[in-house]
C-alpha cells in the first residue's frame, strides 16, 4: 500500500523520521528492528500498528527489507543512500572533536608519513571502522632535487625529491669506481638538468647531454635511472595505502563467518580496485559515500566506503576515508572524513606553497 510514499525522492516527515530511527537502531544493534522496539525506544507518538503500516510503505519504496516474513526491517542500500543524502550537509564534526584532532596532529613530527599514519589512526578510532589514507600523488611528478651518496666504490644511493613532497631512494651500480666528490659533481649537474622537470621534459633534456668524459658517462647512467624512477612513480596509480583499524571490521557481527570478511580483505589487498575508486573521486573535493552494492564488485557489496580527496587537483591529490559494514554510522563518518580531509588539505597547501 504505497500511499504515502511514492518515490525515494519525496518522503513525508514522519516516514522520514521513522526511516532514520530504523537506521539508527539497526546501526546500533545489528539486528532487524521491529515496530514495537521503535515505538518503545523512540517515543514516536503513535502505535506499533501505525508504524507497521509506514514500515511496509518504506519497504515498497525500496528503502527497507525483510530478511524473512516474521523478522524486523533492515535498511537497504537505497535506504542508507537516502539517509546519507538527507544528512550529508549537516554532518559536521563538533568543535570539541575538531580541536582534539588538531591537537593530535600538532603533537607529531613534521614528516608526511607520520601524518598519513595519524590520519588513518584517528579516522579508524573515531568511527570504529577501518580507515584508508593515500599520500597526495601528482598525475605527473616534477623533480625538485637530486642527490647522490656514495655507498661503496661501485655503488651509490640516488635520492630524488619531488616537488610534491615525495622522496624516492634507489641504489645505482656505477660504471666505474667513483669517489663521493665526483658523485657530488654529477649530482649538481643532474640537479641543474632535472630540477622542475617532468619525466617527458627530462627525457628531452637528457638527450642533449654531453656524455663524454668520465663524469659525462656517470651523469648519463644516473640520469637514466632518475628517469626510470620518475616514470615508475608516475605510473603507479597510488603510491602507498596507509590503513588502520582493520580489527574493527573483523569485530563487526556481520562478518562473523569469515567468508565475507575474506572478500573484503582481498579487495583491500588488491590495489587496482582502490585505484579505480580513487580516480573517480580525485579532485571532486567533496565527501562521497559508496554504499554496498554501489561499489560494483561483489566482494565489496557488504561494505561501505566514505571517501574524500584532498590536495590541489592541478598539483597532487590523495584520498582519505573510512571503510566499514554498510551498517555504519554515516553521520559520524562523513563528519570526520570531511574534517580530516580538510586538515590534510591545509597540510598539503603548506608544503606546496
Amino acid at each position: 500500500m504505497a500511499r504515502r510514499v511514492r518515490t525515494a525522492g519525496s518522503l513525508d516527515p514522519r516516514s522520514q523520521s521513522i526511516l532514520r530511527a530504523v537506521i539508527e537502531e539497526y546501526v546500533d544493534t545489528a539486528t532487524p528492528v521491529g515496530s514495537a522496539a521503535l515505538v518503545e525506544r523512540y517515543g514516536l507518538g503513535v502505535s506499533s500498528a501505525t508504524v507497521r503500516n509506514i514500515l511496509s510503505d518504506l519497504e515498497s519504496a525500496g528503502l527497507l527489507t525483510h530478511p524473512h516474513t516474521s523478522a524486523g526491517r533492515v535498511p537497504t542500500d537505497a535506504g542508507y543512500r537516502y539517509f546519507v543524502e538527507s544528512i550529508a550537509d549537516s554532518a559536521i564534526l563538533p568543535p570539541v572533536e575538531q580541536l582534539m584532532i588538531r591537537h593530535q596532529f600538532g603533537q607529531v613530527q613534521h614528516a608526511s608519513e607520520q601524518w598519513f599514519r595519524l590520519a588513518a589512526t584517528i579516522l579508524a578510532a573515531a568511527n570504529r571502522t577501518a580507515a584508508i589514507v593515500t599520500p597526495a600523488k601528482p598525475r605527473t611528478a616534477h623533480v625538485r632535487r637530486i642527490d647522490l651518496v656514495s655507498i661503496s666504490e661501485r655503488l651509490a644511493s640516488l635520492i630524488i625529491v619531488f616537488r610534491e613532497g615525495a622522496v624516492r631512494q634507489v641504489l645505482v651500480t656505477l660504471p666505474d669506481a667513483t669517489e663521493q666528490q665526483d658523485l657530488t659533481r654529477a649530482a649538481v649537474i643532474l640537479d641543474g638538468i632535472m630540477a622542475g622537470r617532468t619525466a617527458a621534459d627530462a627525457d628531452r633534456a637528457l638527450a642533449r647531454i654531453d656524455s663524454s668524459g668520465p663524469i659525462g658517462s656517470l651523469v648519463d647512467v644516473v640520469g637514466q635511472r632518475v628517469l626510470a624512477a620518475v616514470r615508475d612513480y608516475d605510473a603507479s596509480p597510488i603510491e602507498e595505502v596507509f590503513s588502520d583499524g582493520l580489527l574493527h571490521v573483523m569485530d563487526a557481527p556481520e562478518f562473523d563467518r569469515s567468508e565475507k570478511l575474506r572478500r573484503v580483505f582481498a579487495a583491500l589487498e588488491n590495489r587496482s580496485y582502490l585505484g579505480g575508486l580513487f580516480d573517480s573521486i580525485a579532485g571532486s573535493g567533496r565527501v562521497q559515500a559508496f554504499i554496498g552494492a554501489e561499489n560494483g564488485p561483489d566482494e565489496m557489496r557488504d561494505v561501505s566506503l566514505v571517501l574524500a580527496s584532498y590536495g590541489e587537483p592541478s598539483r597532487a591529490v590523495g584520498v582519505v576515508g573510512v571503510l566499514g559494514p554498510t551498517r555504519m554510522a554515516y553521520r559520524q563518518a562523513i563528519g570526520t572524513v570531511r574534517f580530516v580531509s580538510g586538515l590534510m588539505n591545509e597540510l598539503v597547501a603548506h608544503i606546496q606553497a
Copy 2:
C-alpha cells in the same frame, strides 16, 4: 604403556616415522588422523592395531593428543617441536626454487623498500602463510648525509641518509625566510659536523657549534631537528613491518570462527610484541621456530612463527619470517626462510660494503 618411548629426546626409528606421518597427514588435512588412515596412506608394513599402540605411546610421551576419546591424533606443540628439531638441518630449499627466487629479486628495482616487499611476497606465496619482513635497523644509527631542500620561504625539507641505508625526511620550519642557497650552505656545514656520527656524538659536536649569525642559527635549528630525528630512529625497536599473505591465514580452517583470527591480527598490529620477539633472535643468524604456546602470550598460542635474522649484528639487523597456524609445513617454511634470509644478507652486505 610408555614402553618404547620414554622421553621426547630418544625415539626409536619406527615411532619417529609414524610421528612424521601423523604430522604430514595432519598438516595436509587439518583433521585428526586415525590409525587406519596412516596404514593405508603411508605403506607402513604393520597393522592398524600396532600403529594404535605406537600412537598411544607417542601420546604418553606428550607428542600427540586426542581431541576426545574417539577421535584421531593431533600433534602437540611438543610434537611439532620434536619434528622441527629433527628436520632443521636438512630443510634446504631445492636449487630450482632458489633460482626462481633469485631471479625475482633480479627483476626488481634496486630500492630497498622493494626488496622487503618482494621478500614478504615470496615467503607468503611459497608457504601459503603470512610473511613478515623488517628492514635492517642498527642499534645506534650513523648519519651519512644531510640535505636541505627549500619548499617555501619558511619551510624546508630535511633529508637524512643513514649509513645503514635508511632515509628519513622531515619538514623544518625555518627561523627566518631563507633561500635555497643558504640552505645548501647550512646543509654542507651540518654534513661536515654530523657525517659518520651517532646521536650521542652529534650531540656533543653540535654543542661546540658557533650559532651566531644568520647561517649559524639556521644550522643550530636544523641541527636540533636532525638530532631529534636520529634519536627517534634509534628509539623505535622496529622501523616498519612489511607483511603479506594475511589472507592465507584467514583461509586456514582452524581460524574458521573468527575469534582466534582476531587475536592473531591484534598481535600483529601490536608492534611491541613483535619487537620483543625480534630482539630475541636478532643476530643469532639461525632460523628459529616459535611453535604455538611457546610464543608466550595467549593470542599467539594458535600460530607458529619461523623467523631468521639477517645483517651484521655489529651493524644493522632485520628479520624475515613466516607466520601461520601451528599446523604448518615446517620443512618448507624453514627452507624458504633460511634461503631468503641468506639472500637479504647478501643484499645488505652489498649496501654496507
